[in-house]
């Protein structure tokens, strides 16, 4: 009886939150990740509610500040928020040409540097911000990602050097071609 009651209350909360997402016109499949995770990890209703409201605010700020914001991009923006990209940095994407393919590249790049090269939230924000405000094209990340994947073993051994170079070079706004060359140089040096 208690179990069914709990499930009923939980379903009610989940439904409420889903309605809130819909009311804000921010529906996306990505949201189900939070609902599944909250069940697996036994997250309290209050924490789940706070999390979803925070994410809705994050997306609303992005939508207000980015002319090309589209519903299809919601999953990507939620991912940026999950890895700790601040909303004030995220809206710097206004300087870039946003489309699904480009955001997918940015997501892959951020995934690689955070998981394989141990970039923390602060460092991810530095890279994200500099990438947005300086003269880089999102498409250029394609070749950088291929280099990371192709030389994964060698570069992961040299992760501290790779991290240092990425942080310094993106902060200086150096050409992406130069950054790729520096990264490749580590394979033999």
């Amino acid at each position: 009886m208690i179990f069914f009651f709990t499930v009923f209350i939980y379903s009610g909360i989940e439904e409420n939150l889903k309605n809130k997402i819909k009311e804000n016109d921010l529906s996306s499949d990505y949201w189900s990740y939070y609902f599944k995770l909250s069940k697996i990890r036994n997250i309290s209703d209050l924490r789940l509610k706070n999390l979803i409201i925070k994410k809705i605010d994050y997306l609303k700020i992005c939508r207000t500040n980015l002319d090309k914001f589209h519903k299809d991009y919601i999953g990507y923006f939620l991912f940026f928020s999950d890895i700790g990209i601040k909303k004030e940095n995220c809206i710097n994407l206004k300087y870039k040409e946003i489309k699904t393919n480009n955001l997918s590249l940015l997501k892959s790049f951020l995934s690689i540097i955070s998981s394989d090269y141990n970039f923390n939230k602060k460092e991810l924000n530095i890279i994200f911000k500099n990438f947005c405000i300086k003269n880089y094209r999102l498409e250029d990340l394609d070749i950088l990602i291929l280099n990371f994947r192709r030389n994964k073993g060698q570069l992961k051994l040299r992760k501290s050097l790779v991290k240092k170079v990425l942080l310094a070079n993106f902060s200086e706004g150096l050409n992406i071609k130069f950054i790729i060359r520096e990264i490749r140089g580590f394979i033999n040096d």
Binding site: D142, R149, R150, K152, L157, S160, L161
Partner: protein
């Protein structure tokens, strides 16, 4: 004698990792099966295990890479070995566009079941780098290395000059040209001038090699690679070899020239990478005469057409654990009975 190399390697390694800096490691464990490439000579089929550890240390001033490897064959135990290698590197900036790079290596390779081929090596490498910081990079190197076999007379030392030029045509197109010239001096030894007579001499090899490599990064997942190699070696090392209980004299055994053409394709997905490589090599021995299966010399010189295929697969299982698979197959089409044949190597394992 060579044990001192092992002890020095170990002391340097322990000293290095005790210092402040970043240490990264990679462990690989593989199980494999192999078939000897020269089928007509001796068909060797065996399985093996290969354990490998790479340690990379870096701090603000220098880096050190060290490799520990152990290979154990189950039947042909005479080729089992353990290897310890350590290579410190230091880059000294000369100007905005040029650097001096110092490298030194110590290497100890122990064949514990066949001690007469156990050996130690040290090498020194000095490189001058000029880099436009945009499209062009050139590395010119002088290399010296000395390998010592304490229980054998196979000792040698080498001088090499190497020049590597890398030209970045565009962000996704890279051309690399490598030129290498070297001289190897073998230890003074009793040098065969025919099947029975010897004189005391220091044999030497001269070699030259050029590699041209072109890489193209295609959008999304594909990287294409095309390479062309030419190698020439002039050697005055003669040998008397025993084939099926018969002594055979061979002159200038290591003199050859070879052309190699090949390409590879990398398919790089988010959690899976596949590399396919094919190559063709034509190798001619300038002085060696081919032999038939009855050990009679033929009038023609030895040549081989070598066809090679390789596939390498890496699948990410978790953030740190990868599954790896390697398979290669080689066809050695030669006019020499003892070089003709084909063989393969297949191994699977994990990398952490």
């Amino acid at each position: 004698m060579t044990k001192k190399y092992f002890i020095i390697c170990l002391i340097i390694l322990l000293f290095v990792i005790s210092m402040n800096g970043s240490v990264e490691t990679n462990f690989t464990f593989k199980y494999g099966m192999t078939d000897n490439i020269y089928k007509n000579w001796s068909k060797i089929e065996d399985s093996y295990i290969d354990g490998n550890m790479i340690l990379f240390y870096s701090n603000k001033a220098f880096t050190v890479e060290s490799v520990l490897d152990y290979i154990n064959y189950f039947e042909n135990t005479e080729v089992n070995f353990g290897l310890l290698n350590i290579e410190p590197r230091y880059i000294y900036p000369l100007s905005l566009k040029s650097d001096l790079i110092f490298r030194a290596g110590l290497n100890y390779q122990s064949y514990y079941n066949t001690p007469y081929i156990t050996n130690g090596e040290y090498n020194i490498n000095l490189t001058y780098r000029y880099d436009t910081l945009y499209s062009f990079r050139n590395d010119s190197s002088i290399i010296y290395n000395n390998r010592i076999f304490p229980d054998n007379n196979l000792d040698y030392y080498e001088f090499k000059l190497n020049n590597e030029t890398t030209y970045y045509i565009d962000i996704d197109k890279v051309l690399n040209v490598n030129l290498l010239y070297g001289i190897t001096y073998w230890k003074e030894k009793d040098y065969y001038i025919n099947l029975v007579e010897t004189i005391n001499k220091t044999p030497k090899d001269n070699f030259f090699r050029i590699d041209i490599n072109y890489e193209n990064y295609f959008s999304k997942v594909i990287v294409f690679d095309l390479f062309l190699d030419y190698e020439y070696q002039k050697s005055d090392l003669n040998s008397v070899i025993e084939i099926e209980s018969e002594d055979i004299f061979e002159k200038d055994i290591y003199s050859y020239n070879s052309y190699k053409l090949g390409s590879s394709v990398d398919l790089l997905f988010e959690k899976l990478s596949i590399k396919l490589k094919i190559s063709y090599e034509n190798k001619k021995y300038n002085s060696r005469n081919a032999m038939d299966k009855n050990n009679n010399f033929l009038s023609e010189k030895v040549f081989s057409n070598i066809y090679y295929f390789d596939i390498n697969v890496e699948k990410e299982l978790t953030k740190k654990l990868d599954f790896i698979l390697n398979f290669n197959y080689e066809i050695n089409d030669s006019n020499d009975y003892y070089k003709n044949g084909s063989g393969y190597d297949l191994n699977v394992g994990i990398s952490y």
